[in-house]
Amino acid sequence: MLAYTIYLSFAGALILALFPKALQSSARVFALLVALAGLAIALIGFIQAGSSGTVIVADAVWVPALGIRYTLTADGISRVLVLLTGIAAVAGILFSWNIGEKEGDRANEFFAFFLALIGGVYGVFLAADLFLFFVFYEIAIVPKYFLIAIWGSTRREYGAMKLALYSFAGSAMVLIGLLAAYTVSGSHTMNLQAMAQYSFPIHFQMWAFPLIFVGFAILAGMWPFHTWAPTGHVAAPTAASMLLAGVVMKLGAYGCLRVAMTVFPHGLDPWGFSILGLTSWRMVFALLAAIGIVYGAAVALVQNDFKFVIGYSSVSHMGLVLLGLMTLTQIGLDGAVLQMFSHGILAGLLFATVGRIVYERTHTRDLGVLSRLHLGKTMPFAAVLFVIAGMASMGLPGFSGFIAEVQVLIGAWRAFPWFAAVAGVGIVVGVAYTWRAMQRAFFSEATVSTASSGTAHEEHEPYAPVTWAEKAGVALLVGTSLIIGIFPRVLLDVITPAVHALPELLVKGGRL
Amino acid sequence: MIPASWYLILSAVLFSLGVIGFLIKRSLITVFMSIELMLNAVNLSFVTFAHQWHSVKGQIFVFFVMMVAAAEAAVGLAIIIAIFRARATLNVDQVDLMKL
């Protein structure tokens, strides 16, 4: 059943690619239908499976000579992330509803690339064969380049190329690791479960693990490999930034967990010596994650471009995911997965508010300029929305972010208290930058050097009303975040058994 | 009786002269003749080895080399003529429409 999320998206992309140009105004309707169907399937799959274990979705011989099978399975983590992808896809299309209104929008191509990206993401979350995983992973990378380079804004070609090269460099590292693992195991299977049971030599795991982990973590925005993320987010069109922050960065974190950590769990073991106080890869990556949390938040605090604020906040939030992974405790991993879901929703909401609702009407993202526009009064919908999204993103109780962050921090506290403290500082800074952005963009009292701006304000026509598509997208995202915030068990009941079923080493890590 | 190695040394010397000519000469015709010189050095070496092994194969090889060299000369001269028509020069350094 869940496999149809993939097929539908790819079929939709193909049909849209062949759509006649004359029909470009209906491309968005078609794309929305496809995305809704995908979401429906994801939801049905999510509900049907309940808290049961791994569900086999599809299994067929693919490349027998290399022992590669077309195997799709869905455990709790996959099902949660597939659901996230469905929601992000629908929201993304709703927030790009204006594409296709004008001649030369190239709406057919836009939605074709969009659906191809979505199809690849679904595939990654479901793949149970390492090669299938990798194939879908790369399929998801290519459309991003075109989405950003063609429909993006600030320095779009630079941002798109940087993102493509970073992603591809990361996937080259992953491919090296996979090839080496395939050779070392000498077995003729690429199944993730089977690979996880093969005990690779420790010294092999010691270099293969960091290689693959970093390869994936590049896409997850791990400091210091995060620099593609802010430029990419800023350059991307709204829908693409939503997907980028919402699901594509999750691909990286998911790959870290599903491939690097599951197949090479001993890569996390202590080295037996210490460099600068670091004694294992686990500690190195936890440190990088903690730095990422604080660094992302600190840089977000001084940005003047509204979208850069959100872009760096993504780096900070993804740092929490990686920190959660490195705790190697049940609660930390639960929190990491939940944080993936939560950040996927909230980052989408923030980018939609900033990139679509505000920018499309004011045509500026400069906080300095915005502070003079009194958006709190002229655009109350956006103001309220950003307050909600900002609160949720700060980790206010009642929203999904809160439970996730608390779980990660508890897990981190048990494993490495110092890093947990650092992460806590990062979260406090997160409150500060959200507050600052909110204040400057919407509620600034900066009554401006009298004459000139006063006239500018009077001359200004009222902003275009909020469209139904925007409202629907907002309702979807805010609703999801609230539901998860109030009833976290909806997801946790699914995630917890799945995390528990991971190789024992990954949940018995304990204190460093 | 002259030992076989002398022939081989001669062949190697001729071949090296051909390579040097190919590398340092600037006239197309000379470069072209350097290639022919190399092929003839090869022939000498084949004949010597054929004599050493008392095998006719090397000599057969020589006939094929000569035949191919003739065909190569025909093609090469045709190309040189085409170049001369297009550029009115036979200097290698001036055939430089395409560069990195």
């Binding site: 690619a17 000579a65 090269l165 | 290639i35 194969k57 090889f61 094929f64 093609v75 190309i79």
Partner: protein, 488 residues
């Protein structure tokens, strides 16, 4: 083994496909010069190309229906499933090149053009089957001489004759080097048969003469596959030669050359003696490393798509050389798979370039600007070709690369260099995405200078779509070819 007892019936029976091509090539000349002299230029081109395609298809059908193994004159020519696969691939590539030549306007002598293309194809097929130094030499020269002529075929273009001259000079030089190497191999072993050489070399030590012979042979074959440092001709020839000819040089000729390189490697590295093998392998690995490095770096600086493809071809040759150096049956098959699929993709890419050149008069990046709006199908084909060359799944280029590198890593004797070179190659191929995206950026992102559609004939469009579909479908079903070329 009396090699002089030539059984001509046997010879004929295993060279029937080549014979068909020869006959058709003469027929093309007769028809074109005898009957169609008064016809219009396009009609003559069409007639000649149709005949040529029919000839290739007939030869291919013969190979398809007469599988099996055979050999002639003590293995001077062999026919087995891998050779047949290479030959069928070569015939397919030739047919595609001819199909893409219908609109070509570079020549006023279509009969000669098609006849020489068929002769070149004959040469390629013989090269792929040859297992004797003499046959290898003659077949390679048949191939090379035909290609020199073809490269110069646009007589009114100064670029074309310059391309031919560079190709010819470097080709003649490297042929002489290779021959000199052959003469030493003959002198050391007393035979010209590859099997005989293998047996005889296995029983002697590593003398300086063997090393000299290997270096010289490597130079000659390195030229054919455009490996650094024997690559100097490639960019200029790819840029200056008429587009279909460049496609042929980049595709069929590559397949044939890699086929012979695999055969020669098998004979120069006798299983028994690793030490001598090491010399040859060291040569190949150095050539591979230099090709990967220089090809990818130089491609970054190009603004002409043809030159870009030439440098990328050098890089791809480097990847394939790694597979040859691994020297296992699996890696040999992987090289075949790589060469065939790479050649198919390249023919497609040159097909697109030919259309763009005809419309815009240039193959510079600017000429491709806005292609996706002027002809979406053409743009989509180019997208598939270039992404496949970059090795992006699920296109066939990815599987070829994966299969090749897996075979290299699994080869027993590659411990010292295997992993390092594969890491290097994969890192370089990550870089290569940059320049492929430079082209695709023009195609999809940059606005078009004009809005008028890019004129393309229905046939060209169809052929390019078929190639693109093949590249995509072979990527989704990589095992489809395993009947001929085993994967893994």
């Amino acid at each position: 083994m009396n090699t002089f007892a030539v059984n001509y019936g046997n010879l004929f029976s295993i060279t029937i496909p080549e014979t068909i091509l020869e006959v058709v090539s003469l027929l093309v000349l007769v028809v074109d010069l005898g009957f169609l002299r008064k016809s219009t230029q396009p009609a003559r081109m069409t007639a000649a190309c149709v005949l040529g395609v029919i000839g290739s298809v007939l030869a291919g059908l013969w190979l398809l229906t007469h599988s099996g193994t055979a050999s002639f004159a003590g293995d001077a020519l062999v026919l087995n499933s891998l050779v047949a696969a290479a030959q069928i691939g070569i015939l397919l590539l030739t047919a595609l090149v001819l199909l893409l030549s219908f609109q070509a306007e570079f020549s006023r002598n279509p009969g000669e053009y098609v006849a020489i293309v068929l002769l070149a194809t004959t040469g390629m097929m013989l090269v792929a089957a040859a297992r004797d130094l003499l046959v290898i030499f003659v077949a390679l020269e048949l191939l090379s001489l035909s290609l020199y002529v073809l490269a110069a075929f646009a007589k009114s273009s100064a670029l074309s004759s310059e391309a031919a001259l560079k190709y010819y000079l470097f080709g003649g030089m490297s042929a002489a080097l290779m021959l000199f190497g052959f003469s030493y191999l003959y002198g050391l072993t007393g035979t010209t048969n590859l099997n005989g050489i293998a047996v005889s070399l296995a029983s002697q030590g590593l003398s300086p003469l063997v090393v000299v012979a290997m270096v010289l042979v490597a130079a000659g074959l390195g030229f054919k596959v455009a490996a650094v440092p024997f690559h100097l001709w490639a960019p200029d020839t790819y840029q200056g030669a008429p587009a279909p000819v460049a496609a042929l040089i980049a595709s069929g000729s590559k397949v044939a050359s890699f086929a012979v390189l695999v055969a020669v490697t098998g004979s120069l590295i006798p299983a028994a003696s690793a030490s001598r093998g090491a010399t040859w392998i060291v040569l190949l690995v150095w050539m591979a490393g230099a090709s990967i490095l220089l090809g990818n770096l130089a491609a970054l600086a190009q603004t002409s798509v043809r030159r870009l493809l030439a440098y990328s071809a050098i890089a791809h040759a480097g990847y394939m050389l790694l597979g040859i150096a691994a020297n296992t049956p699996q890696s040999g098959a992987a090289v075949f798979y790589y060469a065939l699929t790479y050649a198919l993709t390249t023919v497609g890419a040159f097909g697109v370039i030919a259309v763009v050149e005809r419309n815009m008069g240039s193959d510079r990046f600017d000429a491709f600007a806005g292609l996706s709006r002027r002809n979406p199908l053409l743009a989509a084909s180019m997208l598939i070709f270039l992404l496949s060359l970059a090795g992006i799944p699920p296109l066939v280029g990815f599987w070829a690369k994966f299969n090749l590198f897996a075979a290299v890593l699994r080869a027993p004797g590659v411990g010292a260099w295997g992993l390092g070179m594969v890491i290097f190659a994969l890192a370089a191929s990550a870089v290569s995405l940059y320049y492929y995206l430079q082209v695709l950026k023009r195609v999809y992102v940059v606005p078009a200078m004009t809005d008028e559609p890019m004129a393309v004939s229905a046939l060209e469009q169809l052929v390019l779509l078929v190639i693109a579909l093949l590249v995509a479908l072979l990527g989704i079903f990589p095992s489809a070819l395993s009947g001929w070329i085993p994967l893994g």
